[in-house]
Amino acid sequence: MMVGLEVHQQLATERKMYCDCPTNYQDVPPNTNVCPICTGMPGSKPLSPNEKAVDAAIELALMLGCKVVIDKPTYIQRKHYDYPDLPSGYQRTSLPIAVDGELQGVRIREVHLEEDPGQYDPTVGSVDFNRSGVPLVEIVTEPDMRSPEDARRFLRQLIRVLEFTGKVRPEAGGAMRTDVNISLEGGARVEVKNINSVKGAYKALKFEITRQKAKLGRGEAVVRETRAYLESQMITTSMRLKEMEEDYRYIPDPDIFPLVIDDAKVQNIREQMVEPPHLREQRLVEQYGIQQAAANVIVSERKFADLFEEVAKEVDPKLAAMWFRTKLKKVFNYMKLSAADIKFTPKQLITLLQMIQHHKVTPEQGELVLRELVKKPADPKELVQRLGLERIEWENLELAVKEAIRRNQKAVKDYLAGRKEALNFIAGKVMELTGGRADPREILKLLRAELLKKS
């Protein structure tokens, strides 16, 4: 089974795509937010395309990991077909503005700009043009989904990602519509239109699978056709639209100059946009060479990730990542804080991590300092002093080691006799003697060296 989706998402703009009518079509009586342009009156010409819609489409495409089509004319075309909700007998739809993206394992074939047609009630036979001309972005996937569950999961994730941008109209009855394409082994591709919700997509697919399997089971052919989903009955029905299968006779719209997107514009939008978690995670891995698991934890909160990137400028990123993933997260969780709540400055955290990186304090000592830092921010160097955590000088450590050996002869004998765990016992004694100011690893190293002399 192959399932592909064509998702139509309304963009959050105040004006329509090619005229200045308001876009709040659900709040007003029928045919109120209209003008000669969006009702296709004889002689009407479009205004220039809505810039915010164009920029939003580029941003959404970047969110979906697409390559934006740059330095080539992106024509706004006329797509001709006959339907009551299409006031001019054609829909203005752009060539792809971006291609080759991916979300959750589903490939995105392309993203382009469209305008919404009016609202046609096919059962009553009435048309309201309030919605006509509202900017849309169309997202077309490859048929990479394999089940209604796949489709549902994808759509939910897609909605999350789109809403994250703040550039789409919130999902409220029709801001997002989907056409689903499904083909079973041995059958042709069937397109189902008129789906207004994720649940609808799921139910439509389930119905189609049942319907198509039954047909194939009876030895009948599943023909290529366009069907409509009827929400109230949760079934699909053939639309028998010969005209809709006909050639759309695309031509560049002579009344609208083409768009040419350049790299500078894409970079500009990329810089301004809020990077979504799933993309930021990838970038952190690639840019800083850190582990996926660490990146995944870091992006769980935007400010946490912001803090990480600031720190990673001046501290070894791998060290920083390890600290963020483990100790920082642990301290925050323990104190029930989020990164937004912290009072210490990035500089202070950087100083602390640099001290750890350059072995000025042990990791264990660092964690103590961190807790203090979170509770009451101060210069880490001061905190280290105040807590008496400066690293012990080498001579004093040697003295402490020798002293611990002298005081714990029985343990020494045990160790030399082959009881390795006795070493840890002695090391513990050294820790006591040094007041925790020595790195346990160094204690062990020194102990081994000293005890070797004795053997």
Partner: protein, 84 residues
């Protein structure tokens, strides 16, 4: 009758197309000229939409010339053939 006229007109429409093909035969390939001027990225900023006062007049006239309408101002058209 109408069918015949339709076919006759369709046939006569082809003459100039054939004439064009002949005329263009010797000519080189070129870029297509879709627009009289080279202009790109002519866009318009989003912003405050048109006021309802500006649109009430048009709405009145629009509804007035509708061949069929309902009392809410919807345009009335055919019911879809595939509706059960």
């Amino acid at each position: 009758m109408a069918e015949e006229r339709h076919k006759e007109i369709e046939r006569s429409a082809e003459e100039i197309v054939e004439s064009f093909v002949k005329a263009a035969e010797g000519l080189p390939s070129e870029r297509e000229m879709y627009y009289s001027q080279e202009a790109y990225n002519i866009v318009r900023p989003d912003g405050k939409p048109s006021s309802s006062e500006e649109r009430t007049e048009f709405r009145k006239r629009f509804i007035k010339i509708m061949p069929a309408k309902d009392e809410d101002g919807n345009l009335r058209v055919e019911v879809a053939k595939w509706v059960k």
